[in-house]
Symmetry: C2
Subunit: 223 residues, 2 copies
């Protein structure tokens, strides 16, 4: 892992991951487990099995590494969301897809990923922490980057034509809150329920969240 100095530039490692990826994986995990500010590059590079100087060599700075982690996760996540939404729309033909299927495309990928060993597995927690504790550059990016949500606004507006635009935006906002919140505080939930509520089944959790969100989105509206 610690490199040999052998091989050409960008040569793949024996384990199939180059140093950049190894660093990104470790950063995603550690930033998700604790906050960005509380993880040092020393700790991070040790966990990744690379040299301390490698982060600055490959990314330029700790801040730039954070942005890279974020970008990688966001791209993967939003591709998957878009794919699921496209499939739902194809199934529905000319009609808008059922709200339930739109919701599944919106919240499913992040929740499912948070319970697997994929690259996305920690992206949800990472997002929460980075948004709050990260550098201003990232916070601004998160505030401005809404392109990936536009297609969901469109889909929900078509599926819920009786709602004013403002209401659609608000309900979408709250729904994203449910998605983020669903994987936080699971320890507290286990304590509160005396161990009754444990996440054993990925799809069961997604179903719960989708049920809840669908109910919130389709709630009656009286101004």
């Amino acid at each position: 892992m610690a490199g040999t100095g052998v091989g050409a530039e960008e040569a793949p490692r024996t384990d199939g991951k180059d140093t950049k990826e190894v660093i990104l994986d470790a950063a995603e995990r550690l930033f998700a487990e604790r906050s960005y500010a509380s993880v040092s590059l020393r700790e991070l590079t040790a966990a990744a099995g690379v040299n301390l100087a490698a982060v600055n060599y490959h990314f330029g700075s700790k801040d730039a590494l954070l942005l890279a982690v974020f970008r990688r996760g966001a791209v993967t996540l939003n591709k998957e969301r878009a794919r699921l939404l496209r499939e739902a729309e194809a199934r529905a033909g000319d009609q808008p897809p059922p709200v339930r299927e739109i919701v599944e495309a919106l919240v499913g990928p992040a929740i499912r990923a948070s319970l697997t060993g994929t690259a996305l597995s920690l992206y949800n927690q990472f997002y929460t922490l980075a948004r709050a504790g990260g550098p201003p550059e990232l916070r601004e990016m998160l505030e401005k980057d809404v392109g990936h949500l536009q297609r969901f606004v469109t889909a929900l507006t078509r599926a819920l034509p009786h709602l004013p635009a403002e209401e659609v935006y608000w309900r979408l906002h709250l729904s994203l809150g449910v998605q983020h919140g669903s994987s936080n505080d699971l320890g507290r939930l286990a304590t509160l329920s005396g161990g009754l509520c444990q996440v054993t089944d990925r799809d069961a959790l997604v179903r719960r969240v989708v049920d809840y969100v669908t109910a919130g989105l389709t709630a009656p509206f009286d101004p």
Copy 2:
């Protein structure tokens, strides 16, 4: 503000707040705006207008200060929640209160506070950040401290007798996620909606969240 050395122990200041409170206020604000780890004691004491050494004198350590901020906010918040729930229960007599009123008691105080200048105004954000970025001691405390939620479990179980216990816990968990999420990412919501969605009215926001959460809690259940 910077103290005069005059006066007896615990003497109130001219502005009515002693040093301890001034520090707690500044800490709550700064920890909420950025993360715990990224705010230095130097910055914090400067913002509070007290001496650098004051934090260690009054609280013992930076970690202990964080716990004190958390405790103060949690006590205030949960007293208010409990009061509202008690009132709703009194109004309902022998019957369980309407779900809507239980929800109002659960999520109202934190959201309302997040838009005022009270001591609680930043507690919501503070909670999110501290949970993730704070010291392990705090994280453990958050996981174990569920006493304040028990009365809400009881109330919801009575109001939603057709739901299995497990389902009640899960829906309560997701509802708390909505509450936390409602005040995050408001900048993104404004961007996404082209400025259409702004929080101008405290009560209007609470009403939106209560509507949404009530729908989620009362959604039909099919196992």
